[in-house]
């Protein structure tokens, strides 16, 4: 009897770590926690370069402010000069677009493209994989130097930015890559992340977004529309409370 208890205990001890690593809602929550800044404000400079095959390059620069604990963000455009002062504000679950030219706010969707690039407005918002998706399948895969969990996700909420997703998550719960699919399984977008560490936390340093549908043959080579975001000057400084308001955006836009 005592022998069975010892064997049982050993088996349990071996299985527990495996059970703990099985991706599920708790696992996705840890990925969200890694991506979000729930206990602090966040601000950074985003340099956004879009390359359209055969059409050239466009450049936007924005300053991004996030208060994830209240699901708020403010994205204020700095470049190009003709769009300076335009801004996106997420408050109360809605995203507003402000245009200083006519001084008006319009609603925009989290699923809309950001500035006609391959980034979506949702890319600036709080990550909510645990709330939007359930795990369909999981496995192991290596991405470069990172041993990753490869997890297939299916949306369980209509607010999910994509109906299906496959994500690659490294051992520190950092989201390394994401492939986003339509309901029919058509690959729509690939997003890859590189991080930088600030005050012991990971912050995106470079994000590459590849539109899998917009492609062209250039000199006989198939090229896809790609957006690269370089994130610099990250900071966890406390932001003023009035920053996440329409009033502030309109004032900054002037």
């Amino acid at each position: 009897m005592r022998r069975f208890a010892v064997i049982g205990g050993l088996l349990l001890a071996c299985l527990l770590p495996l059970l703990a690593q099985t991706p599920g809602p708790a696992y996705l929550k840890k990925v969200d926690d890694h991506t979000n800044f729930a206990d602090t404000d966040f601000s950074a400079d985003y340099a956004i370069t879009q390359v359209k095959p055969g059409e050239g390059t466009t450049f936007n620069r924005a300053v991004v402010f996030r208060r994830d604990r209240r699901s708020q963000f403010l994205v204020l455009l700095v470049e190009p000069v003709e769009d300076k002062g335009k801004g996106y504000l997420m408050i109360e679950g809605g995203i507003w677009l402000y245009d200083p030219k006519d001084g008006r706010f319009t609603f925009t969707s989290s699923q809309d493209a950001f500035r006609n690039t391959n980034a979506r407005n949702s890319d600036f918002a709080l990550s909510n994989l645990a709330g939007y998706y359930r795990v369909e399948r999981a496995g192991k895969e290596k991405l470069g130097i990172f041993d990753c969990d490869r997890i297939d996700l299916v949306a369980v909420s209509p607010d999910a930015p994509f109906p299906r997703k496959t994500i690659w998550v490294s051992a520190d719960y950092a989201l390394r890559m994401s492939k986003e699919y339509s309901l029919s399984g058509q690959l729509l977008r690939t997003v890859a992340f590189q991080y930088q560490r600030l005050s012991g936390r990971d912050v995106p340093a470079k994000v590459i977004l590849i539109d899998e549908l917009k492609k062209k043959l250039v000199s006989g080579v198939e090229q896809k529309e790609t957006t690269t975001i370089l994130i610099t000057k990250p900071s966890f400084d406390v932001l003023p409370s009035n920053l996440f308001s329409k009033e502030y955006l309109a004032r900054m836009g002037k």
Binding site: E92, F107, Y195, I208, S245
Partner: protein, 417 residues
């Protein structure tokens, strides 16, 4: 057999390498280096983008733009005499240089003085050979360390949701807008802000609720201190729904209340504005405008709006309804602008007004193109229709530049320094 084996191995290699196939180069590079520490920059506070944004503003900054524009407006202000079409044709030629400037003075973090304006010479080719001065903005802007902010001076503002058939823009209904001079810039009015006026505005955002107090400032044109107006706008945002309640009263004009709501359905803004005016307290008159606004976020750069208005205010029914919207009954406006058509620096657009009560209307197609980095051409082709005496034959929309039918074409050369 050997070829088949090699083929199988190649296929297998592709399958195994599938995650890498998406971008063996740039994306793959992201996974080759471990996470790096952000280089220490001493006092972290000094590196934040907010501080950059605030500190990047100079104590004093002055910018100038220099434009040179020329062109002509040709058209008929009234129905022409068909026997003398050329003689009745109004021809206005423009040729002017415009020095446009902005000034920002920030003596403290919480205070800003802003001014912008234009100096043009000559004002018109066929007009006087003198200087024209147009002060656009001149205001003091104060932001308290808390939430309260205040702004005083000459600036523009907009209430309500409708951009063309606006009724809930109560303060702007109460001000006199002088006839604008022939302009070298041809822009649909729904894409530009309102004309500036003298205001004092104080706003207090409290979470998803913002309360604004507004008063007009005394000016020499409209009767000084006794003709000041007072109003309040209270806005609430709940998810994708925006609600507002406003009121405005100016001496000797009609007191009005306005309620507005806006939400987004399938990416389209849907809104309604409604007003009640009180020429006498027991006889309120009502107006309502409902509409849609949509702008693309990807692909072609298109903005479109459609508005339907019912105006129940009866001009002339009482002395107080002098600031009413002149076109009564049911009317509509549809407008579209398509920028960078086909990726080229060309914009096409147009506005269509129609009064369902009397069948009159106006169509104003417009076109602009950048011919070279600093040179652009803009054109519009207004046409009003309807029986004589009908609404849009009496009151031309501002975009027609006062023409029943015509053509405006303007070339613009721009430089800034």
């Amino acid at each position: 057999m050997r070829k088949a084996l090699v083929g199988c191995i190649v296929c297998l290699a592709f399958l195994v390498a599938e995650p890498w196939a998406l971008a063996a180069d740039e994306v793959g590079d992201l996974f080759q280096t471990p996470t790096q520490e952000v280089p220490s920059q001493g006092n972290q506070e000094k590196t934040s983008v907010l501080n950059d944004l605030i500190n990047g503003r100079k104590l004093l900054s002055i910018n100038f733009d220099l434009y040179a524009g020329g062109g002509g407006y040709f058209g008929y202000a009234t129905s022409p005499d068909y026997s003398d079409l050329w003689g009745d044709l109004d021809r206005t030629f423009l040729g002017t240089m415009i020095l446009s400037g902005t000034l920002d003075l920030r003596p403290f973090d919480y205070l800003r003085v802003h001014a912008s304006g234009e100096l043009n010479y000559p004002t018109e080719w066929e007009g006087t050979w003198g200087f024209g001065v147009n002060l656009q903005d001149l205001y003091l802007d104060y932001q308290s360390p808390g939430l309260l902010s205040a702004k005083m001076g000459r600036f523009s503002l907009a209430w309500g949701n409708a951009r063309i058939l606006a009724i809930a823009d109560l303060p702007n209904r109460s001000i006199s807008v002088t006839d604008l001079p022939s302009s070298t810039d041809i822009l649909p009015s729904w894409l530009t802000g309102n004309e500036p006026s003298l205001w004092f505005r104080m706003a207090l955002p409290l979470g998803n609720f913002t309360s604004t107090f507004l008063s007009s400032l005394p000016d020499t044109v409209d009767g000084g201190i006794y003709s000041m107006g007072y109003g309040s706008l209270n806005e609430l945002v709940v998810g994708k729904t925006y609600l507002s309640l406003a009121g405005y009263y100016r001496y000797n004009l009609t007191p009005r209340l306005a309620a507005s709501a806006k939400t987004a359905i399938q990416g389209v803004d849907v809104f309604v504005d409604a007003t009640a005016s009180f020429p006498s307290w027991d006889n309120p008159l009502f107006c309502a405008t409902t509409g849609l606004y949509y702008q693309t976020s990807t692909g072609p750069n298109i903005k479109v709006t459609a508005e339907l208005r019912w105006n129940g205010e009866k001009p002339g029914s009482t002395a107080l309804i002098q600031d009413t919207v002149v076109i009564g009954g049911l009317s509509q406006a549809v407008a579209l602008v398509w920028s960078t058509v086909g990726g080229a620096p060309v914009s096409l657009g147009g506005t269509w007004y129609h009064d369902w009560t009397d069948g009159s209307g106006a169509v104003i197609p417009s076109f602009s193109a950048d011919l070279a980095p600093l040179i652009s051409v803009k054109a519009f082709l207004p046409l009003s229709y309807g029986e004589d005496g009908t609404a849009y034959r009496k009151y031309y929309p501002s975009e027609t530049k006062g023409y029943l039918a015509g053509l405006g074409i303007v070339f613009l050369l721009k430089a800034n320094f």
